[in-house]
């Protein structure tokens, strides 16, 4: 199984990635998540200005197989949404870590980032799930 897990960001057990820069975290789903979901047909995201809370759902992705909630890796205010995903959700399958990003959030507590999984920690989780 292909398992692309970039070292430059952190992860959740629910298969979201989080990249923090200057108090703003960019959030998306992992390569493993998009592969498990299959072809994504719909992405539901919050609006700019919405406040999201760590570990709570902030949206959902739907594929031909299933629908799955998205969980916030950190708390804060949504300052940017990847609007093109509404028309071309398949980008999440093609490029989950770059073009397929979902939201940018002004975080309320940067320390939350340290509590997220490292690339190594996340790799272990997906290896166990594949068992």
């Amino acid at each position: 199984m292909r398992m692309n897990v970039p070292e430059d960001r952190r992860y959740t057990t629910e298969h979201e990635w989080a990249a923090l820069e200057d108090g703003v975290v960019t959030v998306g789903i992992t390569d493993y998540a998009q592969e498990q979901l299959g072809e994504i047909v719909f992405v539901e995201l919050p609006k700019e200005g919405d406040v999201i809370k760590k570990d709570e759902t902030f949206g959902a992705v739907e594929s031909t197989k299933t629908a799955s909630d998205l969980y916030a890796p950190m708390s804060g205010k949504v300052i940017e949404v990847n609007d093109p995903l509404a028309d071309s959700p398949g980008v999440v399958n093609e490029d989950p870590y770059e073009e397929g990003w979902m939201i940018r959030v002004e975080v309320s507590d940067e320390d939350e980032f340290e509590g997220l999984l490292t690339a190594a920690g996340y790799k272990k989780i997906i290896a166990e799930a594949a068992e």
Binding site: Q36, E62, T64, P89, G90
Partner: protein
């Protein structure tokens, strides 16, 4: 291969058939003269162009739909092992009963004195269902399983409010039916998912940690969607009751329990039946459904009104129920469906229904044991009415659960439920039901083994399936991403028969 060799017709959309002005019927001129719409309705409501209905004759219309029906699959055509849907054969005597003029032509506003037979049927069906559930009273109003869930949750909410304390949470195992969290959310509750334990069901200790005074109810599908009995339900009910919560059982999988186990004895306070599953009423596109709800004596005052009551030998609607949550459905629910379910209940009797549960579980286990060498079981060990496999053993071939499901169509079987429950990756959820013969089960097993062999030796056959249907594999991704919901003459595209 037992697949199809039939003669299927290529058939366009009905809009692409016919000829301008062609009609299927002729009507007499109205004795009232021509009717001028512009004198009867405001101009903004007047249609500006033609309606654009198909213009075809009766034989053309009839053949169109009969031809399309031959592209389809039905329980009257073959085995339909759709997990957790209990697609069992619907006895035709149900139809005879439902079509009796005294039932079929009864006006819902006819006075009670004229409708005693129908009221008696509702009364006796409700009592029969209460008895099978081991509960006190039943409402027949809900029009489907999910509306039954909503009704049950509204009853639970009303009971908490009547006690003086509204509660906000529902605990739901991750192997529950998807409608359970949806119904809870619709009723305004916050859903707390509970993880499945290592043996495939929820452990009491997990409920103990999650249970507090905010929790309105524990809601479980039992048997769950892994086809396993929630074996700690008794202990779980004690924990939930001790903290003032209720236990809701989704009764969609009652086929495994009929006459064997009464949910009331497990500590269940509320449950819904799915008559279109367990009680052989039409299902899926052939609905409508019916989702009666059974409750304990303590919850009876909250049932939707009216209920059918009996005084002496006289049946009547009882409306004077001040604590009732109100009406959930007009009139008496889907009455025709209730007639069919009552017919089945009386035809089978308690001994017959007990045999149903025995045979449903035996058939599922027969498939489980015969397929476990070729397909990975999610949980090894005896199952209830359904067995859950996955595509893990086929991984190396590149063929997936979706491909296996599509290939089964070529062998003349409806695919099972796939990719559900979510806790099993690549799930194939197979529920044969009690109405399939051993010969049919053996044919199904042979087809599944053949597909497993194809995955090893010629996986492209599986990945390209179905090959013997009128249309090949449909593009589900495009259908979801770019659905064309309105036909337009310009974008006319002929179907591609194979």
């Amino acid at each position: 291969m037992t697949g199809r060799r039939g003669l299927d017709f290529a058939e366009p959309l009905i809009f692409e058939r016919g000829s301008p002005g062609r009609r299927g019927t002729s009507t007499l001129a109205s004795p009232l003269g021509t009717w001028d719409a512009s004198r009867e309705a405001p101009s903004e409501f007047l249609r500006r162009g033609p309606v654009g209905l198909p213009e075809v004759g009766e034989p053309e219309a009839f053949r169109h739909f009969v031809r399309l029906s031959r592209w389809n699959f039905a329980i009257d055509l073959g085995m339909y092992p759709l997990g957790s849907c209990t697609m069992k054969y619907n006895p035709k005597v149900n139809e005879a009963a439902a079509r009796m003029p005294g039932f079929a032509e009864l006006h819902p506003y006819a006075p009670e004195s004229w409708t005693q037979g129908a009221l008696r049927l509702l009364y006796e069906l409700a009592h029969g269902l209460a008895e099978l559930a081991g509960l006190h009273a039943v409402t027949l109003q809900p029009a489907a399983g999910a509306q039954g869930e909503l009704t049950g949750l509204m009853i639970i909410r009303a009971a908490h409010i009547a006690r003086g304390g509204a509660r906000t949470r529902i605990l739901i195992p991750d192997t529950a039916h998807g409608t359970n969290p949806a119904s809870s959310a619709l009723c305004g509750f916050e859903v707390v998912p509970l993880p499945t334990g290592g043996r495939g069901f929820v452990e009491a200790s997990v409920v103990e940690r999650a249970m507090d005074e905010r929790v309105a109810a524990f809601m479980a599908t039992n048997p769950n969607t892994l086809g396993l009995f929630e074996s700690e339900i008794g202990r779980i009910a004690e924990i939930v009751h001790a903290k003032g919560g209720f236990v809701y059982c989704d009764g969609a999988n009652m086929n495994a329990l009929l006459g064997k186990v009464r949910p009331g004895d497990m500590g269940v306070d509320v449950m819904q039946y799915n008559l279109h599953k367990t009680f052989t009423t039409p299902h899926g596109g052939g609905g409508p459904g019916a989702g009666p709800v059974a409750v304990t004596k303590a919850l009876e005052p909250f049932l939707p009104k009216p209920v059918v009551a009996k005084t002496g030998d006289v049946y009547r609607f009882e409306f004077d129920r001040p604590k009732s949550i109100g009406r959930m459905r007009s009139f008496c629910g889907n009455f025709g469906v209730l007639v069919r379910a009552f017919t089945y209940l009386r035809e089978m009797g308690i001994d017959g229904l007990t045999r149903v549960a025995e045979m449903a579980v035996l058939n599922a286990n027969y498939l489980r044991v015969n397929l476990r060498d070729d397909f990975q079981l999610a949980f090894d060990g005896p199952c209830m009415h359904e067995a859950v496999f996955s595509d893990k053993k086929q991984k190396a071939s590149g063929a997936t659960t979706m491909d296996i499901a599509k290939r089964l169509i070529d062998f003349g079987f409806h695919p099972p439920t796939i990719y559900f429950p979510l806790v099993v990756h690549g799930a194939l959820m197979i529920e044969p039901t009690e109405t399939e013969t051993k010969e049919t089960l053996d044919e199904f097993i042979a087809a599944m083994r053949e597909i497993a062999r194809e995955c090893r030796e010629s996986p492209d056959v599986v990945k390209g399936a179905p090959h013997h249907t009128a249309l090949g594999r449909l593009d589900e991704v495009q259908a979801a991403r770019r659905p064309v919901l309105r036909w337009k003459r310009e974008c006319e595209e002929k179907p591609r028969p194979r």
